[in-house]
Symmetry: C2
Subunit: 221 residues, 2 copies
DNA sequence: GCACAACCGGACTGCGCGGTCCGGTTACGA
DNA sequence: TCGTAACCGGACCGCGCAGTCCGGTTGTGC
């Protein structure tokens, strides 16, 4: 947070990175339940070192989540220049799903608790923003119906991730199939029925996950 | 399991039901994390009584889940006589989502662990069967594209539930909107693109959640 | 080459929860 | 009425894990 933290010593930085890598790998393999002891061991450092870098297991998780979200956002930006706006959008959706499939448990965490964390909230908003840009272009290009919003799409995609994770291990092809159905859902079809209600907004989601007093305090510390 | 268990004494049966009701209510309010102590207290019984009726917290949860699934299946059957096959199908989907919204955490549990339980597996298969019947009728009536399978639909619906639970507390209308999108996804539109792969089957899902040796033993006990 | 930051890693604490035990009590049901 | 099944509920156990402490060690940066 405070930029005044003097740069880490070389070995400290190295260890920090090792911890992130080890945690990431273990979380992928076995979920968030892996113990800190094992993470430290896999990283080849002592437990003390882990807690020096990340005072709390949650902090460690959050660091990984944020890094992953930023990667996705960056990828989305590169698609803004793509010639076919529709394909760009659907490509982004594929990418998001692919990433969430890899790091399933991490995004579970985001959904349930971590939107209370300010940094994660910001990273999330960035992704939504990027998606919104891609969606707007796709609408202009006539590839997507005009009455769906970014959160509509994001919810569908999140849903696909969740549902797919139940059986993706044995049938990865199913994910693509589900995405095809999402595509059918939001494409212009000529026989579209109107959608109920209004498009949900980012604010709606954030309102449902208020930052806790604890995280606010933490952020200002 | 064994039908030879002699009927419970009146007060025992009463307590059993109280426990189910209390657990159900608490799970709805605060998720599966509520402790057994609190459940017993809310039911107005001692902890010993809880464990006599349900040797394990998991058993308690499973009992509730199975009851809920059976209710949904029964409702589905009543729709088989409805005049409009398309509306019947979509009505069933609304119903499923509504139920899952109420008992969010329970179905999380199912997805993650409980398909290993034979009874739950059977109840799940029944629901899929019912959905399949409704879907077939809707296809014959020309309301739904012919290349989607019951599991395709179920996955979409499950996805909607998951995604919605993230913000349903503040915006219940969003769920209906997502269901409209699901409807758009599987309706005949004239401009349908082919779907990747083949329709997933119940067997695909079950294969991904093999019954554990433990549950097999438990079922035969 | 030296001072000190960073690391090691075992021992320890605290916590919460599921599950067990049991002696004393209640109320069902025949 | 009476035998007994079922209940009560406090005490207790075990477990696993996050997080702390600390004395001894290593290796970085100046």
């Amino acid at each position: 947070m405070t930029p005044s933290e003097r740069a880490l010593r070389a070995d400290a930085e190295r260890n920090r990175q090792r911890l992130l890598d080890a945690a990431q790998a273990l979380f992928r393999e076995r979920g968030l339940d892996v113990g800190v002891a094992e993470i430290a061991q896999r990283a080849g450092v002592g437990r003390g070192t882990l807690f020096r870098n990340f005072p709390t297991k949650q902090d460690l998780i959050a660091a990984i989540v944020i890094a992953r979200m930023k990667e996705a956002t960056d990828y989305g930006r590169t698609l803004l220049d793509a010639p076919d706006a529709g394909e760009a959008l659907f490509g982004f959706l594929e990418e998001i799903v692919g990433r969430q499939q890899l790091d399933r448990c991490l995004f579970d965490a985001v959904a349930h608790t971590f939107l209370a964390n300010q940094e994660i909230r910001a990273a999330h908003a960035d992704i939504v923003g990027g998606l919104d840009d891609l969606l707007s272009r796709a609408k202009e290009a006539g590839a997507v119906r005009s009455d769906v919003g970014a959160m509509d799409v994001l919810m569908l995609v999140k849903g696909v991730c969740e549902a797919a994770s139940a059986l993706a291990t044995t049938e990865p092809a199913v994910v693509g199939r589900q995405l095809d159905l999402v595509r059918a859902a939001i494409s212009v079809s000529g026989t579209d029925r109107p959608l109920r209600g209004r498009a949900p907004t980012l604010a709606d989601v954030e309102r449902a996950h208020p930052p806790t007093p604890a995280t606010v305090a933490e952020a200002s510390a």
